[in-house]
């Protein structure tokens, strides 16, 4: 895939015209704008315009302590707040050398995986909506997401912006009624996934709309810095939970789902399968949940030694990385969030050029962006 220049439309079909998709559009999933030059239904060039939601999080973070920065990570990828929390905590712990109790690690795994399921439900649901199914799959997937958000609310009082992880552990131990509910959810989830796969994976129209659409080859996906299901959909078996196990992921038995063609359908199916694998992980973590404290005490104003650390977790959208530079003060000298939503869009232009408008919409949906994270 090379850089393609704008090809002027051939004379018979007329000149390209400009279509503004967004910032308010049903399929941009937030205030995200695509400026598309089109020739009939075919896209000849595309420009991505972001920044409508830019809050300069990285600048703000330089004047707040490490702990005070955790709420910002909620608001970056607001569909996967737990993963953002965890990434920052890991980076800060690596920087300051904080040990995390066993129970906290297991709880982190449970919540991160629940968050992954909730996020994949949203991502796949909106993808099917983009393909034209009038919200029905989305609402079915919301059913499970609601139960997960209820569990979050029960534990930390918030459903979306959880602010749950702390440097050195997690904020609260889940209440007693949490565990039976989680138990029944984990029991139900595999059959729910089966239901969706049955409903969609062999639906002729869905296949026609997603197979062979938005194909990313394995080499392009790696070179384009894609991570997460977007990379695995292209057939690259890469998962940070296996590659660089954190929070004791090496103890859990799970597999990496990998697509074959690298099209929209594979990315969809990889997410579906990841929900199954996450359920497995949660079940194992729940069964072997160690007793003990849920966090280690760290000073309120953590002052790590000068140095730098790059902490990363496998979020639902890929590698959520935090690059922290410490100068000995209580606030990070530099705080950089490697936002998978933004970086997964590196290939969007080359994918869109030559595609038709419906295909581009579905491709964008399969890249599963969260605009809060793109803009930060």
């Amino acid at each position: 895939m090379s850089e393609q220049a704008v090809e002027p439309g051939d004379a018979a079909a007329g000149e390209p015209y400009i279509l503004n998709i967004g910032p308010q559009h049903p399929s941009t999933h937030g205030v995200f704008r695509l400026r598309v030059a089109m020739d009939g239904e075919r896209i000849v060039d595309m420009d991505m315009i972001v920044g409508y939601l830019h809050r300069s999080m990285e600048k703000l973070a330089e004047e707040r302590t490490y702990t005070q920065n955790i709420p910002f990570t909620d608001r970056a990828d607001y569909l996967a707040a737990m993963s953002g929390n965890l990434g920052l905590c890991l980076a800060a712990e690596r920087l300051a050398g904080v040990e995390v109790p066993e129970r906290a690690s297991a709880l982190r795994v449970i919540f991160a995986e629940l968050q992954r399921i909730a996020s994949h439900a949203m991502g796949n649901g909106t993808l099917v909506s983009d393909a034209g199914a009038w919200q029905t799959p989305l609402l079915y997937m919301f059913r499970e997401r609601e139960r997960i958000l209820d569990l979050f609310e029960m534990t930390c009082g918030a459903r979306l912006t959880t602010n749950y992880m702390r440097i050195g552990g997690v904020a609260f131990d889940p209440p007693a009624e949490f565990f039976p509910k989680l138990d029944s959810l984990v029991d139900d989830l595999p059959s729910c996934v089966d239901e969706y796969v049955e409903l969609l994976a062999e639906n002729e129209i869905f296949l026609a709309r997603t197979r062979g659409v938005g194909v990313i080859s394995a080499g392009d996906a790696i070179n384009g810095s894609l991570t997460g299901p977007q990379l695995r959909g292209s057939g690259v078996p890469w998962d940070l939970r296996k590659a660089e196990p954190y929070c004791g992921y090496e103890r859990y038995d799970f597999e990496i789902p990998v697509g074959s063609a690298g099209d929209v359908y594979d990315r969809f199916m990889v997410r579906m399968e990841e929900v199954r694998q996450s359920t497995r992980i949660i079940r194992q973590a729940l069964d072997a949940l160690p007793p003990g404290p849920h966090k280690t005490e760290v000073p309120l104003a953590l002052r790590p030694e000068p140095g730098e650390a790059y902490g990363r977790v496998e979020g639902p959208r890929g590698e959520v990385g935090f690059y922290l530079v410490a100068d000995g003060g209580p606030a990070p000298y530099r705080f950089h969030l490697r936002a998978p939503s933004l970086i997964n869009l590196s290939l969007l232009r080359s994918l869109a050029i030559g595609a038709s408008l419906p295909d581009a919409v579905v491709t964008l949906g399969s890249l599963d962006i969260v605009v809060g994270e793109i803009d930060r």
């Binding site: 400009i18 009038w134 062979g212 890469w238 998962d239 597999e255 408008l357 419906p358």
Partner: protein, 460 residues
């Protein structure tokens, strides 16, 4: 789950209301039985108070008027009665239909649907209409004002006119013209222009894309629609809708069974003609926002939304009339008023449309056009040939009995199954898109990059 509670959940009603509903249904059935007894007795047949066929009352009215007034008056009065009946029914359908559709969709989507305004939320459509009427109607800068103003009204004309030749009962057809089938096709072809004008006049790229899609789609799908209706005409030997229903009633056979290819072609193509899922490409909200009516606001947008519903119900009535026996119900129509039979069949088709909307994703335009030109039209032409032969045989038999009819029915169903199973084209999705070949992701514990991916790919 017991059947009763399942029904209750389906209707989203409490047990008390469910009981009330059941009681009302039972009462209606009892009243019907009494009427049926009188009918058997024969004292009701053809009298003006025979409520099974409102045509008798109108005929009596005409006769009375003719006795006292010039003939033109009775003509005008009956015309107005018919128009009033159709418009009243359409208005009721538009108000109730949007409630039904939203409520049904909500059930498909494990939600409750509108339930706040009025009993069961029944007044929600009224509230929506009032809200829309109060909204400001914006005309975009650069819009073609004349062409922008006409379409919301113009799209209604075909949907109202198409009701004309639909027979509600043996004597209850408003416009019983002998070119009914052609009339329906002609009238439905008028909507294209209105929708195109809406998209063109809005001066908006989304609207223009929607308009282009509409024109391409509707023009393409008129051909299979016409070919499907041609086979109906061949078998029944008439273009008159009331005669088509009579044919089905006399032979005790629904044309949908005798002509399954035509039936399915007509149904699928009509969803493209009226922009319903899975062919709602012209107003695909995830791609082009609302297609040709993106720029319309207020009640003008409301009219576009309402007409989608009106079209769906007209389609239901036409499918019921042409393929599902119309007002006839295997003799039961002497017991149940025929117009209720037709309404029930219309509702059933409408239900299927809502069901599809709640279930299916959307085709892409090029896939849909390819499907029409490369599959539906050849199949339809072949089907017309087969049906022509069958019709010729049927005509030569004086009274086609159960044997030839059932033989043809079975043959045609077998052909339809063969068409659907073996002749269906591969969906055009690119090199790897194959039908039914859903590839579950490979599960692996091996970690790696490009090399690992190549190893995985080369493994079986």
């Amino acid at each position: 789950m017991s059947a009763r509670s399942a029904l209750g959940r389906l209707l989203a009603l409490g047990p008390l209301r469910l009981a009330a509903l059941a009681a009302a249904l039972a009462l209606a059935a009892a009243a019907n039985a009494v009427v049926g007894y009188v009918v058997i007795d024969g004292r009701l047949d053809g009298e003006w108070y025979d409520l099974r066929d409102l045509g008798f009352a109108v005929a009596r009215l005409r006769a009375e008027l003719d006795a006292v007034a010039p003939p033109a008056l009775s003509y005008w009065v009956t015309a107005l009665v018919g128009v009033g009946g159709i418009l009243g029914f359409l208005g009721l359908v538009l108000l109730l239909g949007s409630w039904v559709e939203r409520r049904l969709l909500a059930r498909f989507q494990i939600r409750r649907g509108p339930n706040r305004v009025g009993p069961f939320g029944l007044l929600q459509p009224l509230a929506d209409a009032l809200k829309l009427m109060q909204k400001e109607v914006l005309v975009p800068r650069g819009a073609d004002r004349l062409l922008y103003a006409v379409p919301p009204i113009a799209v209604f004309i075909p949907a109202v006119l198409a009701w004309g030749p639909v027979p509600w009962a043996p004597n209850m057809t408003y416009l019983d013209i002998n070119v009914g089938v052609l009339y329906v096709i002609a009238v439905s072809s008028l909507a294209v222009l209105a929708l195109f004008m809406a998209g063109w006049a809005s001066n908006n790229h989304y609207a223009l894309l929607g308009a282009m899609r509409t024109v391409a789609m509707m023009v393409s799908y008129e051909i299979p629609v016409s070919l499907a209706l041609l086979s109906v005409v061949l078998v029944t030997g008439t273009l008159q809708l009331s005669e088509i229903v009579l044919w089905q009633e006399q032979h005790r056979l629904w044309l949908g069974l005798l002509l399954p290819v035509a039936f399915l072609t007509f149904f699928f193509s009509s969803t493209a003609e009226i922009n319903r899922t899975p062919n709602d490409i012209a107003e695909a909200e995830s791609e082009i926002v609302a297609g040709y009516h993106t720029e319309y606001s207020g009640m003008k947008a409301g009219l576009f939304i309402a007409i989608e519903l009106g079209n769906a119900v007209v389609l239901g009535a036409l499918v019921a009339t042409m393929f599902l026996g119309g007002w006839s119900l295997f003799g039961l129509e002497t017991w149940i008023p025929p117009y209720l039979v037709l309404a029930a069949k219309t509702g059933a088709v409408y239900f299927v449309l809502v069901w599809l909307r709640g279930t299916l994703p959307r085709f892409r335009l090029d896939q849909l056009m390819g499907f029409a030109w490369k599959y539906l039209i050849p199949i339809s032409i072949a089907n017309v040939g087969v049906v022509a032969v069958e019709a010729a045989i049927l005509v030569r038999l004086d009274a086609p009995g159960i044997v030839p009819l059932s033989a043809f029915t079975l043959l045609n169903i077998a052909l339809a199954v063969a068409c659907a199973r073996f002749a269906m084209p591969e969906p055009s999705g690119g090199p790897s898109a194959g039908r039914g070949a859903s590839h579950a992701p490979v599960l692996t514990t091996v970690l790696g990059g490009l090399r690992a991916s190549e190893r995985l790919r080369s493994a079986p």
